[in-house]
Symmetry: C2
Subunit: 542 residues, 2 copies
């Protein structure tokens, strides 16, 4: 979306051919920067085979394993992990700020991607046990709001109100705390899992909240939700709570309107509406925040109906790495009038519960994000960076320059070119030192690892992301969101089926929604005209 | 493929634009006769919803459930099953013969479709137990040769040679009987399952041979294979045995050529080659046998790469019904010089084992198929017809005329028009009586059930199938075969990846194969120049 030229052209063309046509033109050009799906490779085998092409419990890959076992790869270099991790650490206690983004941006990015970028990590008993395997995934490979609804039907079932009476049909389980609606708690006051979330044998149906330790101070505030990361911090739990309320609100409207419908149909129809509403926000609020051009993308699924990139989604190993935007997260937040360290928010929903949903959205929107890049991650996420570097190596991810080339970009010629220049002299010093350190570690720019290179590039003007990262995010976002089954030519594109799937009521609600604030306003009280958004109010084009 | 006009045009055009272009033109026109995938409906819910759009353990559907619960459907009529089944019964002991097809045609059709048309029926212990559910499927929805390789990876694993030494890498388990290679037997001489096909707990990994009863005379001859229908009769077992031999032959060639490869890579590469070889036969031998035109289709996957119908395969409930070609099967066969009743062949491989593979292929090719249509099914399949009629009703399949319309055909106006006229007076009498009987049962042509109407239409000239059936077979065959993951733009369409996936050796073997006889010749001895084929040697255009 580095569209300075394209945005000029777009401006001129809009008058002639209309916004839908420009929208289609730009989206196609962004998606077709690299080879589109189906991917011939997965993380399972270093060669092409039936199992690799069909076993979706492994990640797909944009580029084959590198070094490919039978090919000489003299330039491969993997410096010690601890040296690489140091590149991510913000050393001074003074993180660089992102001029464009509030903390609602990383909160939404995390909630969105936790739904489908799902490296397989272990689940302790009585929760269903997986072995850790960083080549594998528990993803459904679709934007299905699994953090809200669960990733399996069994999970969905324990999250739904059972045998609902009138006024409860189609609803997700919830509780009122200080007159506000939240998900139920997962654990009772003794720290034992509520048995309604277990199967007949007593085994948990939901996934274990990732990283939660026994005796953790926030354990009593953990919600029973679809996603194992939807309690990761109150920013994420807040977005999940918002969509839970919206689901239940819509179910209520549908129950009133369609008196003869049963629980199942109300649930399914409300979910249809919520998923499409969510995708609309992904494109029209989130992607447009990332977008550096003047053109505003619209969530028109027609673009995808006959596109050659309309092939089944299959999350790639590369996509699972490039979305690790730890450096956007500030070391400290100001929340509810107090400065709190980010680490104190982890796996603890008490701030959200005490402050309330509207206030938390306002607070998060009032905190500025840090700038995405090396040497800017908060201290409590450094260990996670090490896992990421290791995950890339486990999957034999190719080099940074190989990905630039795969995305139709020029290879970067030197470490100096990689880090770029800044008008600001201290910043320029930092970059020059960084380039030297990278050179010490990697020797040759063509040795540079993908994961490090992604974040070594400078943030592009007018956007929150560096260049290669932005291009890959745009490609994946459009090609995965607009190909959603609910948006297909024969559902959303067929007027009769569209009305059957969503109802006229649901379609009006979708129409009336372009941003999170729209949903928040109808699901909370006391929001007033306070600011809620991903783009800082003081942002101006660079 | 009722292409009398199109074939004329094709003839004229071929000179100008070439066979590939005509091939693409015709295939697109055949596939686009109806709404293409993705299907908005499945057999799970009568409305459109996320679960319906994603749960592939249910069949998709071309048309929604009928009667749709909220729509008046005054014309629905379901005569008693026993009356409907009588329509299928051949009453005189003199089946009508198909002028075009040998019994190799239904044998291949059965083997092909048993791989992906897989209604979920029960499996007794110690075999993994399913409940019968005729709305559900155990299909992988792809042409993956699951009758040979199994439909799950666990099944594949027990069918492969374990810890192979040199000369055994990548092979499927097999045994020599009278110097010929066959699969292993599933049961020992006491009728107990060979424990190598069970998991650690003693539960069978393979599926129970469908319909096999304890104490059945053929039980000792049942092979351990991937598919629960691949022992259904020696015709089907013969085709499975052919591909087992071809797999092992290719694995041997690959092992010799690529000495450094491990078991896994040899297995996977041989399977890649065999699957594509199989698809080539589907198009170039099988579909061209069904084809009524002079034009010969070629298995050029390029047609599908950018086609709007290139969407994930998902078997439909309609497809699972229309492939029940029981009336092609003669009541009696002449095999190994003796007349045998068809029922004696069921679940008994002794004839295949005793006669040998080449001789059985020759024998089956020397038996003519019966003509597909009502009043022509052999007595031992009448009960199966009842199951089919019931399955259609369980799934609320719409009417025959609704499907004509969905396939861009005129609705049939009367029962007389439905059954058509014949030059042969006794045949004409039969048809007129049939039309009267249908009218008694259904009253109005618009009430006629899909499954009955399919087989009430007369066989089209120059082909083995009636009109609507042929159109639906063509649509599904091309749109499912050419979209195979191995044939994708980025595997088969990319010269480098094609060679990695298949090797030059494998590609040469694919190139050298256009019919079953090609494969048989290299995997048997004593075939000589005897006839093996789906099209009768005495066939001439009508």
């Amino acid at each position: 979306m580095s569209l300075s030229f394209e945005s000029l052209v777009a401006g001129a063309l809009t008058a002639v051919v209309g916004q839908d046509e420009i929208n289609a033109l730009l989206i196609n050009s962004l998606v077709e920067k690299a080879r589109t799906r189906p991917h011939p490779w997965s993380t399972r085998y270093p060669y092409i085979c039936w199992t690799g092409l069909t076993d979706r419990t492994y990640d797909a890959r944009l580029l084959p394993a590198y070094p490919y076992p039978e090919v000489d790869a003299p330039k491969t270099r993997r410096p010690p992990i601890q040296d690489v991790v140091q590149l991510f650490e913000e050393p001074t206690g003074q993180q660089r700020e992102c001029p464009k983004s509030t903390c609602l941006f990383p909160a939404f990015a995390q909630y969105l991607t936790d739904g489908f970028i799902r490296t397989r990590v272990s689940n302790p008993a009585p929760f269903h046990t997986f072995d850790d395997d960083r080549r594998r995934t528990t993803s459904n490979h679709d934007i299905d709001l699994s953090p809200l609804y669960g990733r399996t039907e069994a999970q969905t079932n324990v999250l739904r109100v059972k045998d609902p009476g009138p006024g409860q049909k189609g609803r997700l389980k919830s509780q009122l705390i200080k007159k506000e609606e939240f998900p139920l708690y997962l654990f009772d006051q003794n720290g034992k899992m509520d048995p309604q979330f277990a199967d007949a044998s007593g085994a948990a149906v939901l996934d274990w909240p990732l990283g939660l330790k026994e005796g953790a101070p926030g354990k009593a505030t953990i919600f029973a939700v679809g996603g194992d990361r939807a309690n990761a911090n109150p920013q994420v739990a807040m977005i999940n709570t918002l969509f839970l309320r919206e689901h239940n609100r819509l179910a209520g409207l549908l129950e009133k309107r369609f008196g003869a419908w049963d629980d199942e149909r109300i649930f399914q129809t409300a979910r249809n509406v919520v998923i499409v509403m969510f995708i609309k926000i992904v494109v029209e609020e989130y992607i447009n925040h990332i977008n550096t051009s003047l053109f505003k993308f619209i969530a028109n699924p027609q673009v995808a109906w006959h596109a050659k990139w309309n092939r089944p989604n299959w999350m790639t190993a590369e996509f699972g790495l490039l979305y690790r935007w730890h450096s956007l997260i500030p070391e400290n937040f100001v929340l509810d009038g107090k400065t709190v360290n980010g680490v104190s928010l982890v796996l603890d929903n008490s701030l959200l519960i005490n402050t309330g949903l509207a206030n938390t959205f306002v607070d998060i929107s009032a905190n500025n994000a840090a700038e995405l890049g090396l040497q800017n991650s908060p201290s409590f996420l450094w260990q996670i960076e090490a896992n990421s570097v290791q995950q890339a190596r486990t999957n034999n991810i190719s080099t940074f320059n190989a990905y630039r080339e795969a995305m139709s970009m020029d290879r970067v010629a030197s470490f100096e070119e990689l880090v770029g220049e800044s008008d600001d002299e201290p910043e320029n010093d930092r970059r020059r030192q960084l380039a030297r350190r990278l050179e010490e570690l990697y020797g040759d720019i063509d040795n540079l690892e993908f994961y490090v290179g992604l974040f070594a590039e400078p943030r592009v003007k007018n956007g929150p992301l560096p260049e290669l990262l932005m291009a890959m995010v745009a490609m994946d976002a459009f090609s995965q969101a607009l190909t959603n089954p609910l948006l297909s030519e024969h559902v959303y594109g067929d007027p009769g089926n569209r009305e059957l799937a969503f109802t006229d009521l649901g379609l009006q609600e979708i129409e009336a929604t372009t941003c999170l604030k729209d949903i928040l306003a109808r699901n909370s009280s006391g929001l007033g005209d306070r600011f809620v958004g991903m783009t800082r109010q003081d942002w101006h084009r660079e």
